[in-house]
Symmetry: C2
Subunit: 344 residues, 2 copies
């Protein structure tokens, strides 16, 4: 690879002049400029970005750290970050997390290869984040509790309002006339699941439902987990009319079990999920759920990051509202069928 020095030699100017031509062309005379440009062309010179980054001490690059790159769930969010970052002049890198944190995405943070990061991966612990966050590398965490644990001038938070989501779900089911519930929760240590559950119960209590009798099964947010949980619920003094699952994946598992065991949905049992993954609209019956504004979350995260990178320091956490998406799986027995209004 040709270096700037090669270009300088060929064009018979100094290295600094070549750099000037590249960065601030107006500052060099037309003749010299042309000579340099010709040399650049002839040598197929390409700037070495690494050398530049070293010299100017920034990379114009940010990273998104994901649990695994493969989850379709975050795709909209990533798109939000990308587009917003793009508009601001940043290159966005996504990196999954290898088992080996040292060569995985954390290397980007640790070794200062990016100017900022957005962290989605819940397996990256807060202490680790606290260690790496610094003035020159602010971090936005997505969807972690804006709790006390992460106090740092260089860490800010964006998330959606899980509690309200749960509340909306509860309200909706009540409005549809259901009075007896079961719950498929996420892992016991999942704050999201917990918040959704809290909101759900809050709604039910407002509706004068006795929440103490509601069976709760904790599972793992996967379709398989939903299947297991639903089976357990059904096998254990089943009386519910509606089941609320802390995410769509598990709800879809539950749907399968119910169908297999010949329950009519929503006639015998209503099912409600959370997240509004793409699949939700396509399963039979289409799954009612709570929609997280993934794209907007991405944009919000990028904006916060940008402000932090500009040096702003006490940026308040941001909580974005979620939205009820009613579909056939929770259609009331009261309401006439056929008024599903879900435009694709």
């Amino acid at each position: 690879m040709a270096t700037i020095r090669d270009v300088a030699n060929l064009a018979r100017v100094s290295v600094s002049t070549v750099s000037l031509v590249l960065r601030q062309p107006h500052r060099v005379s037309p003749e010299t400029r042309e000579r340099v440009e010709k040399a650049v062309e002839e040598l197929q010179y390409q700037l070495n970005g690494i050398a530049r980054d070293l010299r100017v001490r920034k990379t114009d690059t940010i990273a998104i750290l994901l649990h695994n790159l493969s989850g379709p769930f975050y795709s909209e969010l990533i798109r939000g970050v990308e587009e917003a970052g793009d508009a601001l002049g940043f290159t966005t890198l996504a990196a999954g997390c290898s088992k080996n944190h040292d060569q995985g995405s954390l290397r980007l943070l640790k070794e200062g290869r990016v100017d900022g990061a957005i962290v989605l991966d819940p397996t990256i612990s807060s202490p680790v984040l606290l260690r790496y966050a610094r003035k020159t590398l602010p971090i936005v965490v997505l969807d972690r509790g804006l709790s006390g644990e992460l106090q740092s001038d260089f860490i800010t938070a964006v998330g959606s309002d899980h509690e309200s989501g749960g509340y909306l779900a509860g309200q909706h089911l009540l409005a549809q006339g259901y009075r007896r519930f079961a719950l498929i929760a996420g892992p016991v240590n999942s704050e999201h699941s917990h918040l959704r559950e809290m909101g759900f119960f809050r709604a039910l209590q407002e509706g004068a439902v006795d929440v103490t009798t509601i069976p709760v099964i904790h599972s793992d947010f996967t379709e398989q987990g939903g299947i297991r949980a639903m089976n357990m619920l059904l096998d254990h003094e089943w009386t519910a009319e509606a089941v609320f699952s802390a995410n769509d994946e598990m709800a879809i598992g539950a749907l399968q079990v119910l169908e297999e065991r010949h329950f009519a949905i929503p006639k015998d049992v209503a099912v409600m999920g959370f997240d509004d993954i793409r699949l939700a609209r396509y399963v039979t019956p289409p799954l009612s759920t709570i929609r997280q504004p993934m794209y907007e979350l991405g944009v919000a995260a990028m904006k916060q990051l940008h402000r932090a990178m500009e040096g702003k320091t006490r940026i308040p956490g941001e909580m974005l509202p979620v939205k009820l998406v009613p579909r056939a799986s929770t259609q009331s027995r009261i309401t006439k069928a056929g008024d599903e209004s879900d435009v694709s």
Copy 2:
């Protein structure tokens, strides 16, 4: 940020000694080593990866370039690359492509920020790839024709066998007893679509079907496009018993149209897709399709890249086999219903 020099000063040794402690600890005496380690700890020293990359002229990082990061379609593939790369000691970065190629992912290649790349984005033109590929930056293109256009010592190709996929689809439909077909193809300039179509026709011809009468509509690989295409087919002297769509997205669109217009599937019309996206299994009826080995493609790509990075030069292209995934949407009228064997 503390630099290696700060550490050296604090530990009262030279910079080179600190570097030795970090890279080849056995070469320095236990006492010094300990002093240095203490200094590192005290200063919270973190290596500056950029400086290092500059010095050693490599980054141990590769990039995957995607059309947009958000497509769930490639997730398995990415996982394949990641895991394989991980095992080899590389950090994998994924980057979508911004409108502005200069600050988007191509910057990674152009400015030498990675040691290799895997390109999935069909919108990155071959000339561009030819320009950036070099000894120090080999590129693996995925799923482009292994055609003549991309002759370079530093570009290799991996893809799946689209033609055979089309052939399998045709064979399957014939075996199920269908004799009259319609085709929803991809964009006219899509080589994939073209190959799938060729294979499909080859099978039909072997089955003595007159392929010249088969209506073909070109669309854009999206669900909406599938809807439009299916409507056009139906509105135009419809006689087919089975429709083959060049990908699942369009097939799913077609499914919706058929249902809306009260065709029974597969009784009145069979539908077959291509790709086996996650959704395929969940739509009603479940969609028969051709499965591309996405994960394996990723692994194969990473392996090729690795060999290229080691200097190997004329690596032959690799074409991975695809697999028929029969589901209910093409169930024969002859076969008894109920023998669907699709274990999740």
